[in-house]
Amino acid sequence: MLSVQGLQTEFLTPRGVIRAADGVDFDIQEGEVLGLVGESGCGKSVTALSIMYLIPTPPGRIASGAIWFRGINLLAGSENEATVRRGLGGKPKLVRNDTALRRHRARMAKIRGREVSMIFQEPMSSLNPVLPVGYQIAEVLIYQRRKVICDRLLARREITDEDLELFKEAVTHPDAAQRERLLADFCLQTALPVEKVAAIIDRSGLQMEERLARIRRLSERTKTRHAWFLRLARELDVLESEWITREWRVLSGVASSEDDRRRLAAQAQFRSRQALFRLVMSIPVLRRILMRPIEEEARRRVLEQLKNVRISEPHKVYNEYPHELSGGMQQRVMIAMALACDPALMIADEPTTSLDVTTQAQILTLVRDLRERIHSSILYITHDLAVIAELCDRVAVMYAGKIVEEAPVGDLFAHPLHPYTEGLLESIVSLDKEVPTDAPLPTIAGTVPDLLSPPSGCRFHPRCKYAFARCKTEEPRLLPQGESRRVACFLYEEGGSRATERPAGA
């Protein structure tokens, strides 16, 4: 589904060019969880940001490579955005082509959040501190999910006696959990806002007839109006998606002549509708009136999503600001935001590193459960191998900008191939590993190399206990080893001491 090929991302600094990702290769299958593991500064976050096209330019740029996502190359059309020129005194300088950059960003905006979403390490610094968290999630939906929202609003109907029967049950059912479920069903059927219905239910001192009357009034008040506008907004969304998808295909060089023709047609249609839409939106009063149902529907979806990530009081949390939430809650909000549009791929960049073990356990269980329900693929980035063991199907180990080993999770832990993986696994401080308290913990000698001047040959050779002459001069390639694994180490190539060894399970 996602295939990253030869990705090179570099940063121009006053001291020289840092190649943070240097020929990164990996694939993620549909529904798979791939763990990307490595120490800080090895380029794992840069890889993630490159996929999202969020590398700040300047100083950074994607120098080469391809990122294939569901039949399109996400880097197609971005080649000329930033070029390196020699400036005064021979210093390299990044020259930005703003038009190309803007076009590519506009295309990426239809992928980001919709098809590929990302959870960042520090929820506090990636949420907007001056907006309520619920609104921040709703914004994503209003922007990316207009079609679905409008469809639902257009399908709204008058309230029936059957609906009211369901409501009665939601009020009187003896089991609290069941009441909650019935309430959710009722709101789903009638498209009424959950919090208003819940307020009518929980208000004490009301008789059943009064409650039913209030529900009828509520339904009357929230009846769908201005259907023409909803249809317009829906059509705009559909046309824009079609046009951009086809443009991606053309740029990626996989388009048929049919694609090219339809792209132009969709684009022209989109432009004509857009003029009317913009005109309407430019009048504040109209904008407020017309957008309100869309915003309310988005809000309803956000509350549902907040409940999915096990936030116990979604209505309360919706209106809270990031600083009012604990770290675990903030991270749940981030996950809810990432899942808001049912993305095909979710990138999680160290989502639990800043959290407590107990909260981490909650979040990991949540991600595992969600995985079974939503069928997204996940790229899980972390430096904690224990988390990888709990969650992932496959692991890619990264060192100094390169993938050095890739294997199914069980094989990697049972029989690590690359000396770096071996060292990482040994240096884990584990609850279950009975280390005699006096013996020092095994460590990897030395430190992570400076990427300004990476070591020659294999980048791990200065720290490797098996290094031999060839490691210093030649760079090992990531070659298949057994059926399902790949490793970049001369020990496993022709003439290496472990060339004939076959790992267990491979």
């Binding site: 009020v171 003896p174 004490s204 407590d356 909260t359 909650q362 224990a386 060292g423 884990i428 460590t443």
Partner: protein
């Protein structure tokens, strides 16, 4: 010279009845509207030469406790004793516990005078008199990126504590600084660099060297490795162990990483919402944890082996706010082994009452008048029924409903209700007065505060 300087006593740092409440200001006049009970009555001691680990979730008060022990902030009440004989510490603790039982209220931070503790209690000293003690207890903080002055050279960072304490002349100090760097595994040419030129692991080494500079006896390690990578973490832990062995230092290790604890500590204290809930020798704590919170903490640690999976005890929700901590045992709102006497209060039951006693919703409550309001008064929950006065028969209905709810799943708060009484035209549900579980020593050195274990007879 202070009397406590002359000989080495068994207990290096001890806390008795330590409390720290931070005021929350609000309103137009910035008056104190609430207290954050960050540390709320902690007795804790660290023996000379040992490593005591303090574990707990973020926000439980472990960092505040560490700062109190170093007297970086003054306590609200309670005392910190330094280099104190074990018997004196024990009697001081007993005395504090007894006074706490007697009046329960906040007492003077000075504690009882003339008790022979004056030479040891650093919280009684004036700032000037305390200065010689500062040198003897040093901190290492979590984030080496923010705890080193970016504008000072490494040599100045390391020499500063020595010169401030007037321990040496400048040339002597420079020699010592070079030696310190070597001790923490850095090279002499690192002396003339700035902190930003180092990686995280190296910076933490510098922070450790700075803490070692004035030759302390006690190091407070506040999450020393949680900002570091796994491979670097192992290096730093090895270094700390090595230094401790060579110099006979005493450590208080504050962390939320239990794997680190297992490797480093001799004893462990588990903290929850400002209180120590369990304390035990490391091996015993990991092999037979007693408190349900400790069990949950241990089960939450991820296993670095895809083939094995630990049975996880997931704690529901977040740590409650320390502004208004739960009554009784503070853990009862998230505990999976709760009992009726764990300290339930009206607020635990309030959310369920909206359905339970509403005649228009619950068919079993149909004989009750319409419920108009539910209010909480201390350990009483009052049900008001509009204008009508409930009868004795209706009180009986409420009592039956309470009993029915108590038998259902999650009805523990209703099991705790002692009585249902008719009062001033309303029905009142009475909860028992909240009591905190006593601190029980289950086996030598292994103590726990939980109702699951036999409580001492009052």
């Amino acid at each position: 010279m202070l009397p406590s300087d002359r000989q080495a006593h068994e207990i290096l740092v001890g806390a008795v009845g330590l409390k720290k409440h931070f005021p929350v200001k609000g309103g137009v006049l910035r008056r104190t509207i609430a207290q954050v009970r960050a540390v709320d009555g902690v007795d804790l001691f660290v023996r000379r030469g040992e490593t005591l680990a303090l574990v707990g979730e973020s926000g439980c008060g472990k960092t505040t406790l560490g700062r109190l022990l170093l007297r970086l902030i003054p306590p609200t009440s309670g005392e910190v004793l330094f280099n104190v004989p074990a018997n004196l510490y024990a009697s001081a603790r007993d005395r504090w516990q007894r006074t706490a039982e007697e009046d329960g209220a906040m007492r003077s931070p000075k504690g009882p005078q003339g008790d022979g503790l004056d030479p040891y209690a650093i919280t009684r000293l004036r700032t000037r008199a305390f200065k010689p003690f500062r040198r003897r207890m040093q901190p290492v903080f979590q984030d080496p990126f923010t705890s080193l002055d970016p504008r000072m050279l490494v040599k100045d960072i390391l020499a500063e504590p020595i010169l401030i304490n007037n321990q040496m002349t400048r040339p002597e100090a420079m020699e010592r600084v070079a030696q310190l760097l070597q001790e923490v595994g850095l090279r002499p040419d690192h002396l003339y660099r700035f902190p930003h030129e180092f990686s995280g692991g190296q910076r933490q080494r510098i922070a450790i060297a700075r803490a070692l500079a004035p030759e302390p006896e006690f190091l407070l390690l506040d999450e020393p490795t949680s900002a570091l990578d796994v491979s670097v973490q192992a290096q730093i832990l090895n270094l700390l162990k090595d230094i401790q062995r060579r110099q006979g230092l005493t450590y208080l290790l504050i962390t939320h990483n239990l794997s680190v604890v297992r490797h480093m500590a001799d004893r462990v204290a588990v903290m929850y919402l400002g209180r120590i809930v369990e304390e035990a020798p490391t091996r015993e704590l990991f092999e037979s944890p007693l408190h349900p919170y400790t069990k949950a903490l241990l089960s939450a640690v991820p296993v670095p082996d895809p083939k094995r999976r630990r049975e996880k005890i997931l704690l529901p929700g977040d740590v409650p706010s320390p502004v208004d901590p739960p009554t009784g045992c503070r853990f009862h709102t998230r505990c999976n082994a709760v009992m009726p006497h764990c300290g339930w209060s009206p607020r635990d039951a309030a959310s369920a009452t909206a359905y339970l006693f509403d005649s228009s919703r619950n068919p079993h409550a149909s004989t009750l008048p319409a419920l108009s309001e539910v209010s909480m008064e201390g350990n009483r929950l009052r049900l008001l029924f509009g204008g009508s006065r409930p009868s004795e028969a209706q009180r009986q209905v409420v009592a039956d409903l309470v009993r029915g709810r108590a038998a259902e799943a999650g009805g523990m708060a209703f099991q705790a209700i002692r009585e249902v009484v008719l009062e001033e035209g309303s029905i009142v549900l009475e909860f028992p007065p909240p009591l905190e579980p006593a601190w029980v020593e289950v086996s030598p050195g292994h103590s726990v505060a939980c109702y699951l274990y036999p409580q001492p007879q009052a």
